[in-house]
Protein backbone atom coordinates (compact mmCIF):
# COMPACT_ATOMS: atom_id res chain seq x y z
CA UNK A 1 0.00 0.00 0.00
CA UNK A 2 1.42 3.43 -0.86
CA UNK A 3 2.43 5.56 2.11
CA UNK A 4 2.11 8.96 0.44
CA UNK A 5 -0.52 9.51 -2.24
CA UNK A 6 -1.27 12.62 -4.24
CA UNK A 7 -4.59 12.07 -5.95
CA UNK A 8 -5.63 14.32 -8.82
CA UNK A 9 -4.14 17.51 -7.37
CA UNK A 10 -5.19 20.69 -9.10
CA UNK A 11 -4.10 24.19 -8.19
CA UNK A 12 -4.77 27.34 -10.17
CA UNK A 13 -3.33 30.78 -9.59
CA UNK A 14 -5.72 32.98 -11.50
CA UNK A 15 -5.59 31.83 -15.09
CA UNK A 16 -2.38 29.85 -14.54
CA UNK A 17 -2.82 26.14 -13.97
CA UNK A 18 0.10 25.49 -11.64
CA UNK A 19 -0.96 21.90 -11.09
CA UNK A 20 -3.20 20.10 -13.49
CA UNK A 21 -3.95 16.68 -12.06
CA UNK A 22 -0.94 15.27 -10.27
CA UNK A 23 -0.98 11.58 -9.34
CA UNK A 24 1.80 10.18 -7.17
CA UNK A 25 2.06 7.02 -5.15
CA UNK A 26 5.08 6.59 -2.97
CA UNK A 27 5.93 3.62 -0.74
CA UNK A 28 7.18 4.05 2.82
CA UNK A 29 10.87 4.89 2.98
CA UNK A 30 11.09 5.79 -0.70
CA UNK A 31 12.77 8.85 -2.15
CA UNK A 32 10.95 10.67 -4.94
CA UNK A 33 12.35 13.69 -6.74
CA UNK A 34 10.03 16.13 -8.46
CA UNK A 35 12.15 17.44 -11.29
CA UNK A 36 11.36 20.17 -13.75
CA UNK A 37 12.15 23.65 -14.97
CA UNK A 38 11.04 26.81 -13.15
CA UNK A 39 7.29 27.20 -13.11
CA UNK A 40 6.53 23.54 -13.77
CA UNK A 41 4.55 23.20 -10.53
CA UNK A 42 6.99 21.13 -8.52
CA UNK A 43 7.25 23.56 -5.62
CA UNK A 44 3.49 24.10 -5.67
CA UNK A 45 3.04 20.34 -5.29
CA UNK A 46 5.46 20.27 -2.36
CA UNK A 47 3.73 23.19 -0.65
CA UNK A 48 0.41 21.41 -0.96
CA UNK A 49 1.89 18.35 0.72
CA UNK A 50 3.36 20.56 3.47
CA UNK A 51 -0.01 22.23 3.94
CA UNK A 52 1.13 25.79 3.20
CA UNK A 53 -1.34 25.90 0.36
CA UNK A 54 -4.60 24.10 -0.39
CA UNK A 55 -5.43 22.31 -3.63
CA UNK A 56 -8.43 23.39 -5.69
CA UNK A 57 -9.21 19.73 -6.25
CA UNK A 58 -7.70 16.41 -5.29
CA UNK A 59 -6.52 14.73 -2.11
CA UNK A 60 -3.31 14.19 -0.21
CA UNK A 61 -3.26 10.90 1.69
CA UNK A 62 -0.54 9.94 4.16
CA UNK A 63 -0.56 6.45 5.61
CA UNK A 64 -4.18 5.94 4.61
CA UNK A 65 -5.39 9.22 6.16
CA UNK A 66 -6.62 12.16 4.15
CA UNK A 67 -4.61 15.20 5.30
CA UNK A 68 -5.73 17.59 2.57
CA UNK A 69 -7.38 20.02 4.98
CA UNK A 70 -5.10 19.49 7.98
CA UNK A 71 -3.17 22.59 9.12
CA UNK A 72 0.58 22.54 8.37
CA UNK A 73 1.40 22.58 12.07
CA UNK A 74 -0.55 19.34 12.56
CA UNK A 75 0.83 17.40 9.60
CA UNK A 76 4.13 16.19 11.01
CA UNK A 77 6.01 16.98 7.84
CA UNK A 78 9.64 17.94 8.18
CA UNK A 79 10.62 20.58 5.69
CA UNK A 80 13.92 21.96 4.49
CA UNK A 81 13.62 25.18 2.51
CA UNK A 82 15.51 26.66 -0.37
CA UNK A 83 16.20 29.88 1.50
CA UNK A 84 18.09 29.70 4.75
CA UNK A 85 15.28 29.20 7.20
CA UNK A 86 16.98 28.80 10.56
CA UNK A 87 15.60 31.00 13.32
CA UNK A 88 18.27 33.72 13.59
CA UNK A 89 17.64 34.25 17.31
CA UNK A 90 18.36 30.63 18.23
CA UNK A 91 21.55 28.58 18.24
CA UNK A 92 21.89 25.46 16.09
CA UNK A 93 20.87 23.32 19.06
CA UNK A 94 17.89 25.53 19.90
CA UNK A 95 16.74 25.40 16.31
CA UNK A 96 16.77 21.61 16.34
CA UNK A 97 15.13 21.58 19.76
CA UNK A 98 12.27 23.88 18.69
CA UNK A 99 9.96 21.18 17.34
CA UNK A 100 10.70 18.91 20.29
CA UNK A 101 9.73 21.62 22.77
CA UNK A 102 6.43 22.05 20.99
CA UNK A 103 5.90 18.32 21.35
CA UNK A 104 6.62 18.67 25.07
CA UNK A 105 9.43 16.17 25.13
CA UNK A 106 11.34 15.86 28.40
CA UNK A 107 14.51 17.92 28.84
CA UNK A 108 16.87 14.95 28.86
CA UNK A 109 15.15 13.36 25.88
CA UNK A 110 15.43 16.64 23.95
CA UNK A 111 19.06 17.13 24.80
CA UNK A 112 19.95 13.64 23.63
CA UNK A 113 17.99 13.90 20.42
CA UNK A 114 19.46 17.30 19.53
CA UNK A 115 22.92 15.93 20.16
CA UNK A 116 22.31 12.77 18.09
CA UNK A 117 20.87 14.67 15.15
CA UNK A 118 23.57 17.31 15.02
CA UNK A 119 26.11 14.47 15.12
CA UNK A 120 24.20 12.74 12.32
CA UNK A 121 24.52 15.79 10.07
CA UNK A 122 28.16 16.26 11.08
CA UNK A 123 27.74 19.37 13.20
CA UNK A 124 28.39 18.03 16.68
CA UNK A 125 30.96 20.78 17.15
CA UNK A 126 28.68 23.69 16.27
CA UNK A 127 25.75 23.24 18.64
CA UNK A 128 26.06 26.67 20.22
CA UNK A 129 26.59 28.68 17.09
CA UNK A 130 24.02 31.09 15.78
CA UNK A 131 22.94 30.81 12.15
CA UNK A 132 24.94 33.87 11.12
CA UNK A 133 28.04 32.10 12.39
CA UNK A 134 27.45 29.10 10.12
CA UNK A 135 28.21 28.71 6.43
CA UNK A 136 25.38 28.10 3.95
CA UNK A 137 26.06 24.37 3.85
CA UNK A 138 26.15 24.15 7.63
CA UNK A 139 22.89 26.06 7.89
CA UNK A 140 21.19 23.59 5.58
CA UNK A 141 22.57 20.71 7.64
CA UNK A 142 21.06 22.23 10.77
CA UNK A 143 17.80 22.76 8.87
CA UNK A 144 17.84 19.08 7.93
CA UNK A 145 18.50 18.06 11.53
CA UNK A 146 15.68 20.34 12.66
CA UNK A 147 13.27 18.81 10.16
CA UNK A 148 14.28 15.29 11.19
CA UNK A 149 14.05 16.02 14.92
CA UNK A 150 10.27 15.82 14.96
CA UNK A 151 10.38 12.34 13.39
CA UNK A 152 8.28 13.53 10.48
CA UNK A 153 6.05 11.19 8.55
CA UNK A 154 7.35 12.65 5.32
CA UNK A 155 10.50 14.68 4.76
CA UNK A 156 10.05 17.51 2.27
CA UNK A 157 13.02 19.20 0.65
CA UNK A 158 12.49 22.26 -1.51
CA UNK A 159 15.66 22.76 -3.57
CA UNK A 160 17.72 22.70 -0.38
CA UNK A 161 21.04 22.80 -2.20
CA UNK A 162 20.40 25.44 -4.83
CA UNK A 163 22.04 28.25 -2.86
CA UNK A 164 25.22 26.29 -2.18
CA UNK A 165 28.37 26.06 -4.23
CA UNK A 166 28.95 23.06 -6.46
CA UNK A 167 31.26 21.06 -4.24
CA UNK A 168 29.17 21.42 -1.10
CA UNK A 169 26.10 20.60 -3.15
CA UNK A 170 27.42 17.22 -4.24
CA UNK A 171 28.69 16.42 -0.77
CA UNK A 172 25.46 17.37 0.95
CA UNK A 173 23.19 15.59 -1.50
CA UNK A 174 25.05 12.37 -0.82
CA UNK A 175 24.62 12.92 2.88
CA UNK A 176 20.93 13.61 2.48
CA UNK A 177 20.60 10.27 0.70
CA UNK A 178 22.70 8.45 3.31
CA UNK A 179 20.63 9.86 6.17
CA UNK A 180 17.38 9.16 4.32
CA UNK A 181 18.36 5.53 3.81
CA UNK A 182 19.63 5.23 7.37
CA UNK A 183 16.37 6.53 8.85
CA UNK A 184 14.15 4.96 6.18
CA UNK A 185 12.16 8.15 5.89
CA UNK A 186 9.73 8.77 3.05
CA UNK A 187 11.09 11.76 1.17
CA UNK A 188 9.83 14.18 -1.43
CA UNK A 189 12.60 16.21 -3.02
CA UNK A 190 12.10 19.15 -5.35
CA UNK A 191 14.87 20.15 -7.70
CA UNK A 192 15.52 21.60 -11.13
CA UNK A 193 18.89 19.87 -11.32
CA UNK A 194 18.48 16.61 -13.21
CA UNK A 195 21.89 15.33 -12.21
CA UNK A 196 20.97 15.79 -8.56
CA UNK A 197 17.64 14.03 -9.02
CA UNK A 198 19.15 11.08 -10.89
CA UNK A 199 21.94 10.71 -8.33
CA UNK A 200 19.95 10.34 -5.15
CA UNK A 201 16.39 9.22 -5.92
CA UNK A 202 14.51 5.94 -5.95
CA UNK A 203 12.01 7.53 -8.32
CA UNK A 204 12.07 10.66 -10.42
CA UNK A 205 8.97 12.47 -11.65
CA UNK A 206 9.62 14.96 -14.42
CA UNK A 207 7.07 17.75 -14.37
CA UNK A 208 6.17 20.24 -17.04
CA UNK A 209 3.25 22.65 -17.25
CA UNK A 210 1.61 21.37 -14.08
CA UNK A 211 1.56 17.72 -15.03
CA UNK A 212 3.90 14.81 -14.47
CA UNK A 213 5.31 13.96 -17.88
CA UNK A 214 6.91 10.73 -16.74
CA UNK A 215 7.73 8.99 -13.49
CA UNK A 216 10.18 6.14 -13.06
CA UNK A 217 13.52 5.06 -11.70
CA UNK A 218 16.49 7.25 -12.62
CA UNK A 219 17.71 4.58 -15.05
CA UNK A 220 14.32 4.35 -16.75
CA UNK A 221 14.13 8.09 -17.09
CA UNK A 222 17.53 8.24 -18.70
CA UNK A 223 17.31 5.26 -20.98
CA UNK A 224 13.63 5.23 -21.87
CA UNK A 225 12.14 8.72 -21.87
CA UNK A 226 8.53 8.53 -22.90
CA UNK A 227 7.98 12.10 -24.05
CA UNK A 228 10.10 14.51 -26.07
CA UNK A 229 10.25 16.87 -23.10
CA UNK A 230 11.61 14.22 -20.74
CA UNK A 231 14.07 13.11 -23.38
CA UNK A 232 15.47 16.59 -23.59
CA UNK A 233 15.26 17.46 -19.92
CA UNK A 234 17.04 14.39 -18.60
CA UNK A 235 20.56 14.56 -19.87
CA UNK A 236 21.32 15.95 -23.28
CA UNK A 237 19.65 14.49 -26.34
CA UNK A 238 19.89 14.88 -30.08
CA UNK A 239 16.40 15.30 -31.45
CA UNK A 240 15.95 14.50 -35.10
CA UNK A 241 12.49 15.26 -36.44
CA UNK A 242 11.88 12.71 -39.15
CA UNK A 243 9.19 10.98 -41.19
CA UNK A 244 8.76 7.23 -41.52
CA UNK A 245 9.60 6.16 -45.08
CA UNK A 246 9.16 2.44 -44.74
CA UNK A 247 7.76 0.88 -41.58
CA UNK A 248 8.67 -2.65 -42.59
CA UNK A 249 12.41 -2.10 -42.94
CA UNK A 250 12.66 0.71 -40.38
CA UNK A 251 13.69 3.46 -42.74
CA UNK A 252 13.09 7.10 -41.94
CA UNK A 253 13.59 10.33 -43.78
CA UNK A 254 15.57 13.00 -41.99
CA UNK A 255 16.34 16.24 -43.80
CA UNK A 256 16.65 14.47 -47.11
CA UNK A 257 18.79 11.63 -45.78
CA UNK A 258 17.48 8.13 -45.29
CA UNK A 259 18.35 6.65 -41.94
CA UNK A 260 17.98 3.09 -40.75
CA UNK A 261 16.45 3.06 -37.27
CA UNK A 262 15.41 -0.25 -35.78
CA UNK A 263 12.88 1.36 -33.48
CA UNK A 264 11.00 2.62 -36.57
CA UNK A 265 9.94 -0.88 -37.56
CA UNK A 266 6.21 -1.36 -37.53
CA UNK A 267 5.45 2.34 -37.83
CA UNK A 268 3.08 3.68 -40.44
CA UNK A 269 4.72 5.24 -43.46
CA UNK A 270 4.41 9.03 -43.43
CA UNK A 271 4.16 9.24 -39.63
CA UNK A 272 6.11 12.08 -38.04
CA UNK A 273 8.54 10.87 -35.41
CA UNK A 274 11.32 12.16 -33.20
CA UNK A 275 14.54 10.18 -33.23
CA UNK A 276 16.42 10.53 -29.97
CA UNK A 277 20.13 9.86 -29.80
CA UNK A 278 22.31 10.48 -26.75
CA UNK A 279 25.43 12.54 -27.53
CA UNK A 280 27.64 9.67 -26.40
CA UNK A 281 25.92 7.37 -28.93
CA UNK A 282 26.60 9.63 -31.88
CA UNK A 283 29.87 8.68 -33.55
CA UNK A 284 31.84 11.39 -35.29
CA UNK A 285 34.60 10.88 -37.79
CA UNK A 286 36.55 13.29 -39.93
CA UNK A 287 35.16 13.63 -43.42
CA UNK A 288 37.65 13.88 -46.23
CA UNK A 289 35.45 14.07 -49.27
CA UNK A 290 32.20 15.78 -48.31
CA UNK A 291 29.04 13.83 -47.65
CA UNK A 292 29.52 10.16 -46.97
CA UNK A 293 27.72 7.57 -48.97
CA UNK A 294 27.66 5.23 -46.02
CA UNK A 295 24.34 4.49 -44.43
CA UNK A 296 23.13 6.46 -41.39
CA UNK A 297 25.72 9.17 -41.88
CA UNK A 298 24.93 12.86 -41.47
CA UNK A 299 27.52 15.33 -42.54
CA UNK A 300 28.31 18.66 -41.01
CA UNK A 301 30.92 20.94 -39.58
CA UNK A 302 32.19 21.25 -36.02
CA UNK A 303 31.01 24.63 -34.77
CA UNK A 304 31.97 24.45 -31.10
CA UNK A 305 33.90 22.34 -28.64
CA UNK A 306 33.20 22.26 -24.92
CA UNK A 307 35.77 20.64 -22.69
CA UNK A 308 34.03 18.58 -19.98
CA UNK A 309 37.03 16.78 -18.52
CA UNK A 310 37.32 13.20 -19.72
CA UNK A 311 34.96 13.90 -22.60
CA UNK A 312 34.58 16.82 -24.94
CA UNK A 313 31.22 17.89 -26.30
CA UNK A 314 31.15 18.87 -29.96
CA UNK A 315 28.43 20.88 -31.59
CA UNK A 316 27.97 20.06 -35.23
CA UNK A 317 26.08 22.18 -37.73
CA UNK A 318 22.56 20.93 -38.19
CA UNK A 319 21.97 20.93 -34.41
CA UNK A 320 23.84 17.76 -33.56
CA UNK A 321 25.69 17.25 -30.30
CA UNK A 322 28.26 14.49 -29.80
CA UNK A 323 30.37 13.52 -26.81
CA UNK A 324 33.72 11.90 -27.44
CA UNK A 325 36.88 11.28 -25.49
CA UNK A 326 38.92 14.43 -25.14
CA UNK A 327 41.90 12.78 -26.81
CA UNK A 328 39.98 11.96 -29.97
CA UNK A 329 38.19 15.30 -30.05
CA UNK A 330 41.53 17.03 -30.56
CA UNK A 331 41.54 15.68 -34.11
CA UNK A 332 38.26 17.45 -34.88
CA UNK A 333 38.83 21.17 -34.26
CA UNK A 334 36.21 23.81 -34.86
CA UNK A 335 35.63 24.12 -38.59
CA UNK A 336 36.47 20.49 -39.37
CA UNK A 337 34.12 18.64 -41.72
CA UNK A 338 32.73 15.58 -40.01
CA UNK A 339 30.34 12.71 -40.58
CA UNK A 340 28.07 11.65 -37.73
CA UNK A 341 26.82 8.09 -37.58
CA UNK A 342 23.33 7.66 -36.16
CA UNK A 343 23.23 4.23 -34.48
CA UNK A 344 20.55 2.02 -35.98
CA UNK A 345 19.82 0.13 -32.79
CA UNK A 346 20.50 2.57 -29.94
CA UNK A 347 18.21 5.37 -31.10
CA UNK A 348 14.80 5.87 -29.45
CA UNK A 349 11.71 6.90 -31.33
CA UNK A 350 8.78 8.97 -30.17
CA UNK A 351 5.64 9.80 -32.12
CA UNK A 352 5.05 13.43 -32.93
CA UNK A 353 1.68 15.04 -33.35
CA UNK A 354 0.89 15.65 -37.02
CA UNK A 355 0.99 19.37 -36.51
CA UNK A 356 2.36 21.78 -33.95
CA UNK A 357 5.72 21.83 -32.27
CA UNK A 358 7.38 18.64 -31.11
CA UNK A 359 7.84 19.83 -27.55
CA UNK A 360 8.47 23.03 -25.71
CA UNK A 361 11.65 24.53 -26.98
CA UNK A 362 14.52 24.18 -24.60
CA UNK A 363 17.92 25.66 -24.67
CA UNK A 364 20.10 22.63 -25.37
CA UNK A 365 22.94 24.08 -23.32
CA UNK A 366 20.86 24.56 -20.26
CA UNK A 367 18.14 21.97 -20.05
Amino acid sequence: MPYLELQGLHRNFGPVKALNGIEVQLGQGEFLSLLGPSGCGKTTALRLVAGFDRPDAGRIVVDGKDVTSVAPSKRDMGMVFQAYSLFPNMTAAQNVEFGLKIRRRGREDRRKRVHDLLELVGLGHAVDRYPHQLSGGMQQRVALARALAIEPRVLLLDEPLSALDAKVRVQLREEIRRIQLELGITTLYVTHDQEEALAISDHVAVMYGGVIEQMGTPAEMYTAPSTPFVAEFIGTMNRLEATIRDGASGQVDFAGTTLQVDAARGRRAGERVLILVRPEALELEASTNGASSEQNMLSGEVIAQTFLGPVTRLKVSGGLIADMSTGRAAALPVGARVNARVPAEGAKLLSLPDDGPASPALDPDNP
Binding site: R75, F81, T91, F98
Partner: protein
Protein backbone atom coordinates in the same frame (compact mmCIF):
# COMPACT_ATOMS: atom_id res chain seq x y z
CA UNK B 1 37.74 36.82 11.97
CA UNK B 2 37.57 40.34 13.32
CA UNK B 3 37.82 43.33 11.06
CA UNK B 4 40.28 46.00 12.15
CA UNK B 5 38.66 49.16 13.30
CA UNK B 6 38.89 51.55 10.38
CA UNK B 7 40.78 54.81 10.93
CA UNK B 8 38.53 57.79 11.44
CA UNK B 9 39.07 60.53 8.90
CA UNK B 10 39.87 64.03 10.30
CA UNK B 11 36.93 65.55 8.42
CA UNK B 12 34.62 63.06 10.12
CA UNK B 13 35.92 64.22 13.51
CA UNK B 14 35.17 67.83 12.60
CA UNK B 15 31.61 67.01 11.63
CA UNK B 16 31.16 64.88 14.72
CA UNK B 17 32.32 67.71 16.96
CA UNK B 18 30.05 70.17 15.17
CA UNK B 19 27.07 67.85 15.58
CA UNK B 20 27.92 67.27 19.23
CA UNK B 21 28.15 71.02 19.82
CA UNK B 22 24.80 71.54 18.13
CA UNK B 23 23.20 69.23 20.67
CA UNK B 24 25.34 70.03 23.69
CA UNK B 25 25.46 73.83 23.64
CA UNK B 26 21.74 74.30 24.39
CA UNK B 27 21.96 71.69 27.13
CA UNK B 28 24.96 73.34 28.72
CA UNK B 29 23.35 76.77 28.40
CA UNK B 30 20.20 75.48 30.03
CA UNK B 31 22.24 73.94 32.79
CA UNK B 32 24.20 77.14 33.43
CA UNK B 33 20.96 79.07 33.54
CA UNK B 34 19.33 76.57 35.88
CA UNK B 35 22.03 76.94 38.52
CA UNK B 36 21.72 80.66 38.87
CA UNK B 37 20.36 81.85 42.14
CA UNK B 38 16.83 83.16 42.01
CA UNK B 39 17.73 85.98 44.42
CA UNK B 40 21.05 87.19 43.01
CA UNK B 41 20.76 85.94 39.46
CA UNK B 42 24.36 84.71 39.84
CA UNK B 43 26.08 81.36 40.02
CA UNK B 44 25.75 78.93 41.72
CA UNK B 45 22.73 77.61 43.50
CA UNK B 46 20.91 74.32 43.21
CA UNK B 47 17.80 75.82 44.71
CA UNK B 48 15.87 75.35 41.48
CA UNK B 49 16.61 71.61 41.52
CA UNK B 50 15.68 71.28 45.17
CA UNK B 51 12.42 73.06 44.50
CA UNK B 52 11.65 70.84 41.56
CA UNK B 53 12.39 67.63 43.42
CA UNK B 54 10.25 68.72 46.32
CA UNK B 55 7.39 69.68 44.07
CA UNK B 56 4.66 67.03 44.36
CA UNK B 57 3.25 67.93 40.94
CA UNK B 58 6.57 67.16 39.33
CA UNK B 59 6.48 63.55 40.48
CA UNK B 60 2.76 63.19 39.93
CA UNK B 61 2.77 64.44 36.33
CA UNK B 62 5.95 62.55 35.59
CA UNK B 63 4.30 59.34 36.78
CA UNK B 64 1.16 60.07 34.74
CA UNK B 65 3.18 60.62 31.58
CA UNK B 66 5.42 57.67 32.15
CA UNK B 67 2.57 55.25 32.79
CA UNK B 68 0.84 56.72 29.76
CA UNK B 69 3.96 56.11 27.67
CA UNK B 70 4.14 52.49 28.76
CA UNK B 71 0.46 52.06 28.00
CA UNK B 72 0.89 53.57 24.55
CA UNK B 73 3.87 51.33 23.85
CA UNK B 74 2.05 48.19 24.96
CA UNK B 75 -1.13 49.02 23.01
CA UNK B 76 0.88 49.98 19.91
CA UNK B 77 2.92 46.79 19.97
CA UNK B 78 -0.14 44.60 20.53
CA UNK B 79 -1.96 46.39 17.70
CA UNK B 80 0.79 46.83 15.18
CA UNK B 81 3.12 43.85 15.51
CA UNK B 82 0.47 41.27 14.51
CA UNK B 83 -0.95 43.67 11.92
CA UNK B 84 2.34 44.41 10.20
CA UNK B 85 3.23 40.71 10.41
CA UNK B 86 -0.03 39.74 8.77
CA UNK B 87 0.32 42.38 6.09
CA UNK B 88 3.82 41.20 5.23
CA UNK B 89 2.77 37.58 5.22
CA UNK B 90 -0.65 37.57 3.61
CA UNK B 91 -1.51 40.91 2.01
CA UNK B 92 1.72 42.65 1.02
CA UNK B 93 -0.20 44.80 -1.44
CA UNK B 94 -1.77 46.57 1.56
CA UNK B 95 1.64 47.79 2.73
CA UNK B 96 1.60 51.04 0.75
CA UNK B 97 -1.98 51.65 1.89
CA UNK B 98 -1.01 51.35 5.54
CA UNK B 99 2.09 53.43 4.84
CA UNK B 100 -0.20 56.14 3.51
CA UNK B 101 -2.52 55.89 6.51
CA UNK B 102 0.50 56.20 8.76
CA UNK B 103 1.26 59.60 7.24
CA UNK B 104 -2.11 61.01 8.25
CA UNK B 105 -1.07 61.77 11.87
CA UNK B 106 1.67 63.95 10.41
CA UNK B 107 -0.71 65.78 8.13
CA UNK B 108 -3.58 66.41 10.52
CA UNK B 109 -2.51 69.02 13.09
CA UNK B 110 -2.85 67.81 16.69
CA UNK B 111 -5.23 70.65 17.45
CA UNK B 112 -7.61 69.44 14.76
CA UNK B 113 -7.25 65.87 15.91
CA UNK B 114 -7.99 66.60 19.55
CA UNK B 115 -11.08 68.65 18.72
CA UNK B 116 -12.32 65.85 16.52
CA UNK B 117 -11.57 63.17 19.07
CA UNK B 118 -13.26 65.05 21.89
CA UNK B 119 -16.35 65.54 19.75
CA UNK B 120 -16.51 61.95 18.56
CA UNK B 121 -16.06 60.49 22.05
CA UNK B 122 -18.30 62.93 23.86
CA UNK B 123 -20.72 60.23 24.90
CA UNK B 124 -18.02 57.74 25.82
CA UNK B 125 -17.91 56.27 29.33
CA UNK B 126 -16.34 58.29 32.11
CA UNK B 127 -13.32 56.02 32.55
CA UNK B 128 -12.37 56.58 28.94
CA UNK B 129 -13.32 60.20 28.38
CA UNK B 130 -12.02 61.69 31.60
CA UNK B 131 -8.87 59.71 32.24
CA UNK B 132 -5.49 60.19 30.57
CA UNK B 133 -5.21 56.42 30.31
CA UNK B 134 -8.35 56.47 28.14
CA UNK B 135 -8.79 59.06 25.44
CA UNK B 136 -5.30 60.53 25.77
CA UNK B 137 -3.66 57.12 25.41
CA UNK B 138 -5.83 56.47 22.35
CA UNK B 139 -4.76 59.79 20.82
CA UNK B 140 -1.11 59.05 21.50
CA UNK B 141 -1.39 55.62 19.91
CA UNK B 142 -2.51 57.45 16.79
CA UNK B 143 0.43 59.86 17.06
CA UNK B 144 2.83 56.95 17.60
CA UNK B 145 1.35 54.96 14.70
CA UNK B 146 3.68 56.26 11.96
CA UNK B 147 6.79 55.76 14.09
CA UNK B 148 5.71 52.29 15.14
CA UNK B 149 4.64 51.28 11.67
CA UNK B 150 7.74 52.44 9.82
CA UNK B 151 10.06 50.94 12.46
CA UNK B 152 8.25 47.60 12.42
CA UNK B 153 7.94 47.61 8.65
CA UNK B 154 11.70 48.02 8.32
CA UNK B 155 12.19 45.23 10.85
CA UNK B 156 9.91 42.83 9.01
CA UNK B 157 11.56 43.66 5.72
CA UNK B 158 14.92 42.64 7.15
CA UNK B 159 13.79 39.07 7.84
CA UNK B 160 12.33 36.37 5.61
CA UNK B 161 8.88 36.39 7.18
CA UNK B 162 7.46 33.71 4.89
CA UNK B 163 10.17 31.14 5.31
CA UNK B 164 10.50 31.65 9.06
CA UNK B 165 6.75 31.32 9.51
CA UNK B 166 6.50 28.22 7.38
CA UNK B 167 9.51 26.63 9.06
CA UNK B 168 7.96 27.28 12.43
CA UNK B 169 4.60 25.90 11.37
CA UNK B 170 6.01 22.79 9.78
CA UNK B 171 7.68 22.07 13.13
CA UNK B 172 4.25 22.18 14.76
CA UNK B 173 4.09 25.73 16.13
CA UNK B 174 0.74 27.53 16.32
CA UNK B 175 0.29 31.10 15.04
CA UNK B 176 0.70 32.75 18.48
CA UNK B 177 3.77 30.64 19.23
CA UNK B 178 5.29 31.47 15.86
CA UNK B 179 4.72 35.17 16.49
CA UNK B 180 6.10 35.18 20.03
CA UNK B 181 8.97 32.71 19.77
CA UNK B 182 10.14 33.14 16.18
CA UNK B 183 9.04 36.46 14.72
CA UNK B 184 9.13 38.81 17.71
CA UNK B 185 12.72 38.03 18.80
CA UNK B 186 13.89 38.75 15.28
CA UNK B 187 12.22 42.14 14.98
CA UNK B 188 13.13 43.15 18.54
CA UNK B 189 15.44 45.94 17.41
CA UNK B 190 12.65 47.42 15.30
CA UNK B 191 10.08 47.07 18.09
CA UNK B 192 12.49 48.78 20.48
CA UNK B 193 13.10 51.64 18.07
CA UNK B 194 9.34 52.15 17.69
CA UNK B 195 8.93 52.05 21.47
CA UNK B 196 11.62 54.70 22.04
CA UNK B 197 9.92 57.02 19.64
CA UNK B 198 6.53 56.42 21.26
CA UNK B 199 8.08 57.16 24.67
CA UNK B 200 9.63 60.36 23.38
CA UNK B 201 6.32 61.49 21.87
CA UNK B 202 4.33 60.90 25.03
CA UNK B 203 6.91 62.55 27.27
CA UNK B 204 6.84 65.68 25.11
CA UNK B 205 3.35 66.07 23.69
CA UNK B 206 1.67 69.30 24.78
CA UNK B 207 -1.17 70.36 22.49
CA UNK B 208 -3.53 67.43 22.89
CA UNK B 209 -2.99 67.07 26.63
CA UNK B 210 -3.54 70.78 27.13
CA UNK B 211 -6.74 70.99 25.08
CA UNK B 212 -8.13 67.82 26.60
CA UNK B 213 -7.25 69.30 30.02
CA UNK B 214 -5.06 66.57 31.40
CA UNK B 215 -2.11 67.25 33.67
CA UNK B 216 0.77 65.50 32.05
CA UNK B 217 4.45 66.20 32.38
CA UNK B 218 4.75 68.60 29.44
CA UNK B 219 1.86 70.61 30.89
CA UNK B 220 3.76 70.82 34.17
CA UNK B 221 6.90 71.99 32.38
CA UNK B 222 4.94 74.64 30.59
CA UNK B 223 3.35 75.78 33.86
CA UNK B 224 6.70 76.01 35.59
CA UNK B 225 8.13 77.80 32.59
CA UNK B 226 5.51 80.50 32.97
CA UNK B 227 6.10 80.92 36.68
CA UNK B 228 9.81 80.31 37.35
CA UNK B 229 12.40 80.30 34.55
CA UNK B 230 15.19 78.77 36.67
CA UNK B 231 13.02 75.90 37.78
CA UNK B 232 11.83 75.46 34.22
CA UNK B 233 15.41 74.91 33.08
CA UNK B 234 16.00 72.51 35.93
CA UNK B 235 12.83 70.56 35.08
CA UNK B 236 13.84 70.39 31.45
CA UNK B 237 17.20 68.90 32.32
CA UNK B 238 15.78 66.49 34.88
CA UNK B 239 13.12 65.31 32.43
CA UNK B 240 15.79 64.94 29.79
CA UNK B 241 17.80 62.73 32.13
CA UNK B 242 14.74 60.70 33.13
CA UNK B 243 13.74 60.11 29.51
CA UNK B 244 17.23 58.90 28.70
CA UNK B 245 17.15 56.66 31.72
CA UNK B 246 13.82 55.20 30.60
CA UNK B 247 15.18 54.59 27.10
CA UNK B 248 18.29 52.91 28.45
CA UNK B 249 16.21 50.62 30.64
CA UNK B 250 14.00 49.73 27.66
CA UNK B 251 17.13 48.96 25.72
CA UNK B 252 18.45 46.89 28.58
CA UNK B 253 15.21 44.92 28.93
CA UNK B 254 15.04 44.44 25.16
CA UNK B 255 18.58 43.17 24.82
CA UNK B 256 18.72 41.07 27.97
CA UNK B 257 17.90 37.80 26.26
CA UNK B 258 20.55 35.99 24.30
CA UNK B 259 21.15 36.14 20.61
CA UNK B 260 21.99 38.87 18.21
CA UNK B 261 19.48 41.69 18.16
CA UNK B 262 20.18 42.56 14.60
CA UNK B 263 19.49 39.96 11.99
CA UNK B 264 22.50 39.33 9.86
CA UNK B 265 21.59 38.84 6.21
CA UNK B 266 21.85 35.39 4.65
CA UNK B 267 25.24 34.71 3.20
Amino acid sequence: MRLRRPKIAPSAVVWLVLAALYFLVPLVATFLFSIRSIQTNKCCSFAAYTAVIHNGDFWHTLRVSFVLALEVIVISLILFVPTVYWVHLKVPRLRPVIGFLALIPFVVPPIVMVVGLLKVYKGAPEWFYNKPSGILAAAYVILAFPYMFFSLDAGFRSIDVHTLTEASQSLGASWPRTLVRVILPNIRAAALAGSFLALAIVMGEFTIANLAQFHTFPIFIQYIGETDPYQASAVTLVSFGITWLAMSSLLFIGRKRGGPTQVVGAH
